[in-house]
Assembly symmetry: C2
Homo-oligomer: 297 residues x 2
């Protein structure tokens, strides 16, 4: 396979746009598509090229990057919108959205049946990582396929991990990442509410446990927003309702019991049911306080 | 209250002995008692004094430190063995063992009813912290009582937090600490087993998630032992069976629902039931692997 030069990019959202711009900066010829005109304008302004639809973005591309919302959108772009048919025979589909592992594996089979290559390559690091090109990429595909697209991947992410040979394994690592993130947020809220019930100040808990063996990245990051009244929304409760659903589906599909993830999922779901779905995910603590008979504030 | 000089110390185990030795180093007159002659010999060798029983250790002490195994031992030392009666009227009982918050509150009432003072002061930091005098101390009592014993406490711990005015609040902070530690170990094992079921190498999970938002102190510390065959035992599964029992009892006593802690507790209990109770607590992963239909190795 020759070095990729032409990149099709579908999904120019909060993550996708800065990722596409990093490809432009690294001298790739990027042709992007999104439903939002302002995203296309931003790509164009930065030196990228605008496609009229997903198929046009794929046309003559060496690699087609998908940074869409979910697996349904990825399938729709590839099959309904004709992007896969428009993509040259030897090209590679790089799916970077967070999707269920078994669905990714099934999608890869359909793509590979047409002769194209497929890389399952979800990311972590958020918008900050997308902007800085410092994302962690969890890639699964054969060595040959990964190596051929290495320059594309490292243009978007600082840490490229080759986690397995089978599509779905990248998605699974991302799934385990979300499992731990979701459980750690819920655990921090559970501990916080228990302490508050005993009349202990939440900030004292953060000061002590943030520096002990009880610490987690999420305790340090979300904990301070658990003791604020109307915290900034960095990621919503409903995102974890969705992500923990992917976690539970992955456990069911691969037959692995996930008792902590199941409990955390129920707490995010209850938080959403209580009207907190669009609040910062730290606000699952409101549901814990409610369960403990505490009123906030 | 005058500056404390004479310290009675009961419970010279893996934590208690080095804590007592740190008091000796700081020029306190320490009279210690333990059931094990070798612990008494070590105290004597380091310049401490040996008591024939708990009451003798308490006799003429300004403060009586209890670093016993559990609340039952603390009660036994104070009431059955006569240490409280032997302790001078104005002296202070400092309970540093990990005990249930409501039991600590009840014990404090009984001690204070005799005119003595009581500090609820559990620690975190383990044997390493005990040896180095770098423990974190979570102390609850009135300002006056804490200040009067400050020199005693800071001789054993680097970070002294005054977490509340009521006995039981120190124990509650320690309880929340254990809640998070236990949930984080179980969550790491849950994620590890899910990844392994998908054919992903455990070390890859640690390399990626240890540097992501999914990280926790426990993932970094216990994770590596989850991918070893016969890891060193730094703290046993059965310790978490006990500590998560304290967590669940605390939730019940204060009426706070703890769904994640409950799930984690069941996993440690199952691990113990399966014969892993004396293994390193990271080995709760064996139970997760078993639940996922994976055989180890």
């Amino acid at each position: 396979m020759s070095e990729p030069r032409n990149i099709g990019f579908v999904g120019l959202g909060a993550m996708g746009l800065p990722m596409a711009l990093n490809l432009v900066k690294k001298q790739f010829h990027v042709r992007g598509f999104d439903m939002k005109p302002e995203a296309l304008a931003a790509l164009n302004h930065a030196g990228g090229h605008v496609a009229a639809n997903a198929a046009e973005a794929a046309h003559s591309a060496d690699a087609l990057v998908l940074m869409v919302v979910n697996i349904a959108q990825a399938e729709s772009v590839l099959f309904d919108a004709g992007a896969l048919a428009a993509l040259p025979e030897a090209a590679t589909v790089i799916l970077m959205a967070t999707c269920p592992p078994n669905s990714v594996a099934a999608l890869a089979k359909r793509v590979e049946a047409t002769g194209r290559h497929f890389i399952d390559a979800p990311v972590s690091g958020g918008v900050v990582g997308a902007q800085g090109g410092t994302l962690t990429i969890m890639a699964a595909a054969s060595n040959e396929v990964i190596e051929a697209s290495r320059s594309v991947l490292v243009a978007m992410g600082e840490k490229l991990f080759h986690v397995g040979l089978e599509a779905g394994q990248g998605a699974m690592v991302k799934t385990v990442n979300q499992l731990l993130c979701g459980v750690h947020i819920a655990a921090a809220a559970e501990g916080m509410a228990l302490a508050e019930k005993a009349g202990i100040d939440g900030q004292v808990i953060l000061d002590i446990l943030g520096g002990s063996a009880a610490s987690s990245w999420m305790l340090l990051n979300r904990g301070p927003r658990m003791v604020q009244d109307e915290p900034e929304v960095t990621s919503a409760v409903d995102i974890f309702v969705k992500d923990m659903s992917i976690v539970m589906d992955a456990g069911r599909a691969s037959k692995a019991a996930l008792p902590l993830a199941a409990a955390a999922h129920q707490m995010f779901l209850a938080a959403s049911a209580q009207g907190h779905g669009l609040k910062d995910d730290s606000q699952v603590v409101l549901t814990y306080r409610d369960l403990a008979g505490l009123k906030k504030g």
